[in-house]
Each structure stands twice: as structure tokens, then as C-alpha cells.
């Protein structure tokens, strides 16, 4: 059981939701976040000089999936949220120890 954490472009949220549903993992949590990537922000120029915007809007998606769905989810996400430009985001995969359904107490399936 793994948690997929994807940092994506805000405008690609619907594509990401569709992609994960297609891959068989419809359950997810969405957070609006800001941050910077490996480029440490974006640089712009005004009349008096350069400035850097390093709090760029992103969306963080967290989805807990069975091990066998990790690769299909990553593949589907990459296929649907890529624009080919810097700033498309990253996907992290984290181990998950336990998963419990609050209503039934059932344990195991994510």
C-alpha cells in the first residue's frame, strides 16, 4: 500500500482526477498549495530590475493505492497532466503502514 503525492499545475486538476479514476484509484485528497521547484521560482523583469516569484500556485493530490496500482497511476498521471514545460510538477510515492475505514473499522484495503 503506497501513498501517491502529486504536485501538479492547478489547471490540470480535472485531468488528474480523470486519470486516477481511469487507473482505478478514484479516492483522493486535494490541497491548494504554493511553493517552488528545482528552478527556485520564476524570474521577471521590471523597469528597475529583476524580481523572483517563488511562491507558485500548485495543487497537491494525495491518493493511497494498492502496490499494484502505483505504476498505472503514475503512468496515467504523467500522460494527462504534462504540458512539456518547466513547472509540470513532481510525483512522490510514500509507504503507508495501515489503512482503516472509520465507518466499519475494516482494515487493509486503501
Amino acid at each position: 500500500m503506497k501513498m501517491i503525492v502529486a504536485m501538479i499545475r492547478p489547471e490540470k486538476l480535472q485531468n488528474a482526477k480523470d486519470a486516477l479514476a481511469e487507473a482505478g484509484a478514484p479516492a483522493l485528497t486535494i490541497t491548494h498549495v504554493t511553493g517552488r521547484g528545482a528552478q527556485a521560482g520564476m524570474r521577471f523583469t521590471t523597469r528597475v530590475g529583476e524580481f523572483c516569484v517563488d511562491e507558485i500556485e500548485k495543487i497537491k493530490i494525495e491518493a493511497v493505492v494498492p502496490d499494484k496500482l502505483v505504476e498505472p497511476c503514475i503512468k496515467a498521471l504523467r500522460a494527462h497532466v504534462t504540458t512539456g514545460h518547466i513547472g509540470d510538477g513532481r510525483i512522490f510515492v510514500l509507504p503507508v503502514e495501515r489503512s482503516i475505514c472509520i465507518r466499519t473499522g475494516e482494515e487493509g484495503n486503501p
Binding site: E11, V53, G87
Partner: protein, 443 residues
């Protein structure tokens, strides 16, 4: 950047020269103008027009909230800055040049330059035959110029650069708005007084709404679409949209009501039909939206209200309450269809439905005037059995659409050659609030 400075200097020198020579020009026309001065001013009329000025003035910041709320949250500051600056720039240009071009002299397209910087515009008497002084008339007309300019901003939102849109509006208010005001209200080509057409435009269906709608489209065509990641049809702040719409709704009482420049029975009729039309259009828009998408939203219901107000604007002085109901109902249908068309079929990125609501609503309003005009006028519409007004209105609409589109297109095209007029995709993504103004609306 150098080209921009050169352009600014050239314009500044031209303006300075014009001001220097203005007294000479004025002296030539003083003989005719002085003869026509009436100084039977009516205090009640003056008070009402001053109040109407306030009501129309506050529509401009209302537009900032209304439009800003409909954009992404990264564009709210930009919308506020653009509206405020447009009020200042267009307001000054109106006082410096625009009023003179619009309301002095009797040319076909523009007047003359005899009232540059309000030279000879009296605070005590009227040369135009009103019971309010020329200076107050100038202020009231100036408010219309401001509001019209702010409406144009909606079509180019989220991708135009701030310096570019300010340069555009400064030139536009001289080359498009002032001539339109002159042609329709100053005795030019599109007015009955001009002698070519029989037309009626009580409060600016052609001058304000068709003009702003089609000028916005022209500018949007030159600029191109927003990049796909910016183009979202979802309001980021519905309360701001509502607050702005309310300011417009209340302001419209002054906008339409003030246009008669007098307190009399016609004024009360104007206020009544204005409100009736907006009530009906709000209901009809809501019903259409309910049938079409199953739910009624705040942004939609505000747009429906605006559609009725735009539709009744040119007709409000001349129609009865039942006619106003029909005008409001049809305005809702036309504008709903227009918004859908502009978003899905037209290929033009009219960011905030400026053409869908103001352009097409204004066209319908002008045509409706030609159909329903029946009171407080010598030239009735189709329902009084006369076709002259209807034909005149159609001609005026056609001319306005072509004139405003062509001139606005040329202004924006020329500006795009001398300066960078739009944001790059990366700048659009971060948003003009931070990139251009360094001040996010929400932290």
C-alpha cells in the same frame, strides 16, 4: 521602451500646442456661442444631475468589483488598478480634449477644439439649451466616458499589459468615444439633429454599450486569447461580483435618469421602466439558465439583471412599462445566447462577456427603441406606425459597430507595434497582480 517615451513626448507636445492655440480658436467661435447662452438655471435640475453624476461615477469602481470577482484570484488587484487608472486617464482626457470634440461645434464626426481644457465652459449658463450649466453637463457626460472605458477592460482582462491598456484607453477616448458622443448627442451624423438619420438614444445604447462591447472585441482580437491555463469560467469571489453588480444596478438609476438633465414626469417614467426591464430580464435569464443547466447561479443572475439594464438604456426615455417588460425579456434571451456564442463559437476570448452583454444587449436596445418608442418624442417607433425611426436605428447600430471596431482595432494594432501589449504565458500564469503590480489581492 524608448518608442513609448517618444510617443508620450509627441502626444504631450501636441497637447501643449493645442492648449496654447485654443484661446485663438475659441475667439472665432465666441460670437456664435455667446449669443446662445441661457442663464435660466433650475436649482432642482442641477441638484438631480449632480446626484446622478455621483451615481454614475460609482458605477466605475462597481465594474472593478464586478469584473474582478469573475476573474481568477490572481487578477483581482490588476482589475482594480486598471479600473481606477482608467477613471483617472479617461476623466482627464475627457476634460482636456474629449468634451470639446464631443460637444463644441457641429461637425459630422467630431466637433472642434474650442473648449480644450474646458476653455469657456460656463458654470453659470448653458449654451446647449439645458437648465443645467455647461460645466455640470460636461461632468455628467464625463462620467459616461469613464464607465464606458471601464467596461472595455472586461474584454481584455487577464492578458493585456497595464501600460498598454492605459495608452489604448487614452487614444480610444479621443478617437472613438468622443466622436461617438458627438455623432449621437452632439448633433453629428447619427443624431436626428444632424439631419441624415432619425434616431433616438436616451442614455447611451450606441455610445456606451455597443461602443464598449465592440471596442473590447477589437482589442481582444488584436491581443489574442488568454493561455489555456488562465481561461477559467468560474468566479473567484462571488460576493465581490454581487457588490459590484449592486453598485451598477443602483447607479443605473442615475445613468438613465440623469440623461434627461431635468426633474419631471419623464424622469419618473425613466426610473420605472429601467427597474421593470431589469426585474423582467433577471427572471427570464434565471428561467433560461434553470432550463439550460438546471441551476441558477449568482454570477448568472447578476448578468441577467445587467442585460435588462443595457437593453432598456437607449429606450428608457420613450417607452411605456409594458414595452419595458418585453425589452427586458428579449434582452435576457439575446444576451444569454450572445454569451454562449461568444464563449463557445466565436473564437474571440471576450474574457468577461463584454460583447455578449453590452454589445448585443445594446444592439437589441437600439432596435427596440425603433420598435417601441411612443412617448416623450416626436418620432415614434414601429408601434406608432412609423418606420423612419426603426430604419434610422438600424443604420446607427451598423455604423457604430463598424466605426468602433475599425478604429479600436487600428489603435491596438499600432500600439502592439510600438510596445509589448500582452503578458507572456509565464506572466499570465503567475498573474498580473504580482507580476505587474506586486500586490496580491489575497494573502
Amino acid at each position: 521602451m524608448k518608442a513609448v517615451w517618444k510617443l508620450t513626448i509627441v502626444l504631450g507636445v501636441l497637447l501643449a500646442l493645442a492648449v496654447l492655440f485654443a484661446p485663438g480658436v475659441a475667439a472665432d467661435s465666441a460670437g456664435t456661442a455667446a449669443a446662445a447662452v441661457t442663464d435660466t438655471m433650475n436649482t432642482v435640475d442641477m441638484l438631480w444631475v449632480a446626484l446622478a453624476c455621483c451615481l454614475v461615477f460609482i458605477m466605475a469602481p462597481g465594474i472593478a468589483l464586478f469584473y474582478g470577482g469573475m476573474l481568477r484570484k490572481q487578477s483581482m488587484t490588476s482589475c482594480i488598478v486598471q479600473c481606477t487608472a482608467a477613471m483617472a486617464v479617461v476623466g482627464f482626457v475627457w476634460i482636456a480634449v474629449g468634451y470639446s470634440l464631443a460637444f463644441s461645434g457641429s461637425g459630422l464626426v467630431v466637433g472642434n477644439l474650442s473648449a480644450l481644457l474646458l476653455n469657456g465652459v460656463s458654470a453659470d449658463g448653458s449654451t446647449l439649451g439645458y437648465t443645467v450649466p455647461d460645466l455640470e453637463f460636461m461632468l455628467f457626460q464625463g462620467m459616461f466616458a469613464l464607465v464606458t472605458a471601464c467596461i472595455v477592460l472586461g474584454a481584455v482582462a487577464e492578458r493585456v499589459r497595464f501600460p498598454a491598456i492605459m495608452a489604448f484607453l487614452a487614444l480610444w477616448s479621443v478617437l472613438v468615444y468622443a466622436p461617438m458622443a458627438h455623432m449621437v448627442w452632439g448633433g453629428g451624423l447619427l443624431s436626428t439633429a444632424g439631419g441624415y438619420l432619425t434616431t433616438l438614444d436616451y442614455a447611451g445604447g450606441t455610445v456606451v454599450h455597443i461602443c464598449s462591447g465592440i471596442s473590447g472585441v477589437a482589442a481582444a482580437v488584436v491581443l489574442g486569447k488568454r493561455s489555456a491555463n488562465t481561461q477559467k469560467f468560474r468566479s473567484h469571489n462571488v460576493p465581490a461580483v454581487f457588490l459590484g453588480a449592486t453598485m451598477l444596478w443602483v447607479g443605473w438609476i442615475g445613468f438613465n435618469g440623469g440623461s434627461g438633465l431635468a426633474v419631471n414626469g419623464q424622469l419618473i417614467s425613466v426610473i420605472a421602466v429601467t427597474l421593470v426591464s431589469s426585474f423582467v430580464s433577471t427572471i427570464v435569464w434565471s428561467l433560461i439558465q434553470y432550463v439550460h443547466v438546471g441551476r441558477i447561479g449568482a454570477t448568472g443572475i447578476c448578468a441577467g439583471m445587467l442585460a435588462g439594464l443595457v437593453g432598456i438604456t437607449p429606450a428608457c426615455g420613450y417607452v411605456t412599462v409594458p414595452a419595458a417588460c418585453i425589452i427586458g425579456a428579449v434582452a435576457a434571451c439575446v444576451c444569454y445566447g450572445g454569451v454562449i456564442f461568444m464563449r463557445q463559437k466565436s473564437g474571440v476570448d471576450d474574457a468577461l462577456d463584454v460583447f455578449g452583454i453590452h454589445g448585443l444587449g445594446g444592439v437589441w436596445g437600439a432596435i427596440a427603441t425603433g420598435i417601441f418608442a411612443s412617448q416623450y418624442t416626436d418620432t415614434g417607433g414601429l408601434i406608432t406606425g412609423s418606420t423612419a425611426l426603426f430604419c434610422g436605428q438600424l443604420a446607427a447600430v451598423g455604423f457604430t459597430l463598424v466605426y468602433c471596431f475599425v478604429i479600436s482595432f487600428i489603435i491596438m494594432k499600432v500600439l502592439s507595434k510600438v510596445m509589448r501589449v500582452r503578458l507572456s504565458p509565464a506572466e499570465e500564469q503567475i498573474g498580473a497582480d504580482i507580476v505587474e503590480h506586486g500586490e496580491p489581492a489575497y494573502v
